[in-house]
């Protein structure tokens, strides 16, 4: 199942890791290193899944979630936070902000692709 996944991530190493893993399993990956670029990318092409870091240079993850989840067209795209914010309450705050899922860094590369595909199949169901 080839799908388009947009990764919003400002750390080039993390971006490369996730892109590498998802591409290895046949997904097509687009990237944006800031919130505003992500919004541009979304207007050009609609992805099937968005992975989003939280601490980003301009609009942070919370801001992105607010914009996407109040957007009539984008609100239905699954939005998953992939973040090194892993204190008690972080997950709850992100879900409350509108994220559909949460994965803390460091990711487990052996499970990562499968975990992300779960959001795709959930959506198809």
């Amino acid at each position: 199942m080839s799908t388009r996944i947009l990764i919003i991530e400002d750390n080039p190493t993390h971006l490369e890791l996730m892109t590498y893993l998802l591409s290895a399993y046949g997904h097509s990956v687009g990237a944006a290193e800031s919130g505003s670029r992500a919004l541009d990318a979304l207007n050009r092409e609609r992805p099937d899944l968005i992975l989003c870091d939280v601490q980003l240079p301009d609009i942070d993850g919370f801001g992105i979630a607010r914009r996407l989840k109040s957007h009539p067209e984008f609100r239905s795209i699954p939005l998953v936070a992939v973040t090194a914010l892993a204190m008690a309450g972080d997950c709850d705050r992100l879900i409350a902000a509108g994220f559909d899922g949460y994965l803390s860094k460091p990711i487990d590369p052996e499970k990562f692709v499968q975990q992300m595909e779960l959001f795709l199949t959930n959506r198809c169901r």
Binding site: M87, A88, K105, P106, P109
Partner: protein, 488 residues
Amino acid sequence: MLVRSPDALGFIVEFLQSSTEYALIAKDLDGTILLWNEGARRFYGYEPGEILGKVRSDTLHTPEDTAAGLPVRMMTEALQCGKWEGLVTWVRRNGQRSVARTVLTPRLDAYRRHTGYLLISKDVTDERSAIQAEDKFRDLFEFAPDAIVVVNQEGQIVLVNSRVEKLFGYARAELLGEPAEMLVSEGFRHQHPPIGGGLDVVGFRKDGSEFPVEISLSPVDTEEGILVSISIRDVTERKRLERALKAKNLELENANRAKDRFLATMSHELRTPLNAILGFTGTLLMKLPGPLLPDQERHLRTVQASGKHLLSLINDLRDLARIESGTVELNPEPVDCRSVVEDLAAALRPSAEAKGIAFEAVVCPPDLVVRADRRTLSQILLNLTNNAIKFTERGSVSLRANQRREDRILTTEFIVSDTGAGIRTEDQAKLFQAFVRLDSGQKQRQEGSGLGLYLSRKLAELLGGRIALQSEYGKGSTFRLILDEAQS
């Protein structure tokens, strides 16, 4: 005899004889008692027959007064000045002492020769104790720790104690008759606390300076009508302490927030490089870029294990900080034990099977429900079961749950058993302490933070439960998480 005219004077003698309020005693020069009236009988307690002509009046004095020469002094003064008058302590027949206002006059015959004395006494013991009590109350009022101002119905000051003078800088005379409101700052002059209640106002001194006071009113019923007693307490020191305490609290809150921020930042900054280390080690070990030489694979496994160890340290320290800060929020709810155990089994069975050990999960009865915080319960069982798998090389690991009821206590037990290395008796007590790692006797040293069991114990305590351990070295271990619920 003193009395010559039998008619008129006879009446007076009879009257005096029967008087009960005044004790009348006539005695001759050597102190022999000649007359003893009804008042004397009541006051001193002696019957006339016991005393007349028999007892000398000296014995009625206290030994101290006699030793101090009071009886002689009284008689000398009576002779010189015509009478002696004063308060005398008398000793009654039963030994009890009473104070009387006493008058001693000399008896003179028709030729003005001195023939003896007349002693008249009135018992003032009760009056005196009333006076003494009044003195005591005056002292209590005067030296009370609070300043006290008594005002009349018009609000004028009628009485103040010495604390008022000290606190406000006024002399007593400057206050009496003045309105009590002169003692409070202008803005507070029309505030009246309810009777019996307290009120914080600002006191106003003679020199114009102001200071915080707490005042409370209470009514006083007196002969002059209802007065109001106002207690005034200087609360400068208390207010200062309250401010200091508030500042300290704020400081602690800030320090706590700074600590939380620091922990969050540390956690975030440590995870960021670990993501790259564990991530790309993973892609290599998954052989996504291509095959690995055996040595390369072995080295990469070491990098991966060390990275995972570092991650477990970060996670456990984070959880520990959270537990010890006392801010863990628990959400106790009825938890379906089977779903908890099955979720754990699904997550852990692969690692057990990868080591070639059997894994069994049994909940009996299957519809077991325990009241607990689900996430905390899962975390404890995950720690215990993970440990069991880690320290078992062959045989099996099992996770079971059961429940029993005894004397209105419902006890739920989660039992994690393994056929692993076991723990020496002498090591068992140390096991639940922080950063303790025991020599498991395994060839490969096990990675771990040394915080897992310590955390599990703390979490069990949060749930109101405990963890019990049974183990035989070399044969295996059984950890029990025991949760008791009181049933009504």
